[in-house]
Amino acid sequence: MMDSSRLPEAIAGCLVESIRITAQESDSLTLDAALVFPDDFVGFDGHFPGNPIVPGIVQIMSAAYVAAQHGGGRLQAVKRCKFMRPVRPGERIWLVVERTPGGQCDAALEVDGEPCASVSFLLDAE
């Protein structure tokens, strides 16, 4: 379970199965993570009635959370984001994010090998 007072309730019920650094270069860091939103996740409360899906912004919050695990920072900007596939309760999101020292991040989210979102964003320096 994510454990941080920085997180809104809308994401705090997410199950983080793993977060790890997979590559570290002088000018970038790559992390991956596996996330699951269980049936009782608050983001499914009315999103949408009878047809729960993970809100798009929760996917952005997840990417920012994972990227901030090494180097900190809060979401400052989203250059572009594209949603490609809805994510249902219990589906495992595989998230890969590359972060530069300046806080620029590029994340790709997949479910079962199928892209569900991509987001290019900036974390501030804190």
Binding site: L7, P8, E9, I11, G43, H47, F48, G56, I57, P86
Partner: protein, 152 residues
Amino acid sequence: MPGPTLPARAEALLPHAGRMCCVDSLRSFDEKEALVDVFLRDDHVLLNKDGVLDRAGFVELGAQAAGAMHTAVHAAGNTPPGLAMLAGIQKFTVYADAYAKDRLEITVAVLGELEGMSSLSFRVKREGELLAEGKLKVFMPGPDFSLEGGAQ
């Protein structure tokens, strides 16, 4: 233009319900622009334990404002709204944080529409101070489309 009596309760205009209905009311609208507001109650789902709005939450406020506008415009034209689904975000920038007990105003404006895809800008303000702005791409597939096909 005719349509819902203003201010209109947002939950009546959105597919969202319960805790995930994140805005309060539609205050004005026409085919090109709308104004929506929200009071950030202490238990608002987008606040963290310190009472700070998650910055991605500004996007949700913009998207739900766009959804309320979409339904209201169709209600005014007496046509079924169909679904409006967030497909993308561009040029979103945060200038300042929002906090519990803030009253926020969200304006959305249609920039263009093409083949079921609508491009809108949104701005979130607190007492005139611009807190965040960005652009949304919203997929509007028409009244026959099923939510099973995809939505955010």
